[in-house]
Amino acid sequence: MNALANLGSVVAAGPIGVEPDTGETVTFWVCATLAVLGGLGMVLSRKAVHSALFIALTMINLAVLYIAQDALFLGMVQIIVYTGAVMMLFVFVLMVVGVDASDSLVETLKGQRLLAGIAFVGFLGLLLAGVVEAFDGVPFVGLEAANTAQGTNVEGIGALIFTRYLLAFEVTAALLITAAVGAMVLTHRERVEPRKSQPELSTERFAPGRHPVNKPSPGVYARNNAVSMPALLPDGSTAEDSVPGPLRVRGDAREADLLALAEAEHLSAHEAVTVDDPYGPGPGQTDRQASGEESRP
């Protein structure tokens, strides 16, 4: 801790021989520039992963600025908790979710960007005006006294947290636990029954009312293979299952055996099959045509 404190004072004090404020000024302008660039990059970059990296940059620079302002503990927490844990969580979720169309930068809401720009400018202007109006020329009191009152910065914060802000601290603890439980509840998917073993699956497949193999295809054993034509089973009956369910429900399934019967009669009577047979010419058409001509009186 002492090393860190020294680091803070060194950064704040700047290089030796230079005016005490100069170090901080340089630090500020470098870090501030980087932080703003990081923020802009986060908003403007097309890929979410890049955004994550940009905001990590901003956060690290902010951590430096915290330290420069005698907030050693916060600076460290910023780096470890924020940049380390929280941003890793972000990246991890990005990995789960992947990239999708929402990564596109094309605006879909009409006027959203223009209004957002106006709001941005207006809000920023107001904030800046307020800040400048309220704090311009107000000097820093400095934290040397406060930080050294309890020993170090960390001890000072600890003393405050466990005395004045104890209740808030306890509530925060409850909040954290609740958040953890909530995250678990939200993401957890419970399995209500044990995974089935292979013998169980096999038994299920052969249970009554189930087809152990594929259902017969429609029209396989009928004279044509239209999807509405049921397959003929070896015993001459039709396989109702072979016609898709929606067709059966609509009543579009045809009676294969009747058609076959009619076909047989055609053959036996030697009559010509009309050309506009909706099911197309079948095998032996020429034979039948010939026989039809013969039978004509």
Binding site: D21, F28, A32, V36, G39, M42, V43, A48, S51, A52, I55, M59, L62, L65, Y66, Q69, F73, L74, V77, V81, Y82, A85, V86, L89, V93, L94, V96, D100, S102, E107, T108, Q112, R113, L115, A116, G117, A119, F120, F123, L124, L127, F135, D136, G137, P139, F140, V141, G142, L143, A145, N147, N153, L160, R164, A168, F169, T172, L175, A183, T187
Partner: protein, 99 residues
């Protein structure tokens, strides 16, 4: 060093975050923008602490961090859940608030 500089930086970062919330559609990026806004406010708190010579501002910033962590945990869980059901992380997608 003038404290105004820090506060101006804080304001700029906050505004960038707010604008980002408005223009980005990826829920995760929107979250990052919110984090940026929280960080900007933290910077302001730290600056105020230094201006006033007390550590209370830092304590508040600390609490903000804790709350932000909790928020990120729950928010990302929600995003993951939504992504599971709708297969999208766009904030425009669940516009069920409409009639």
């Amino acid at each position: 060093m003038n404290p105004t500089n820090y506060l101006v930086l804080s304001a700029i970062l906050f505004s960038i975050g707010a604008a980002g919330v408005l223009v980005r559609r990826n829920a995760i990026v929107v979250f990052m923008c919110i984090e940026l806004m929280l960080n900007a406010s933290n910077l302001a708190f730290v600056t105020f602490a230094r201006m006033n010579g007390t550590l209370d501002g830092q304590v508040v910033a600390f609490f903000v961090m804790v709350v932000a962590a909790a928020e990120v945990v729950v928010g990302l869980a929600i995003i993951v859940t939504i992504f599971r059901t709708r297969n999208s992380a766009s904030v425009d997608e669940p516009n069920l608030l409409r009639l």
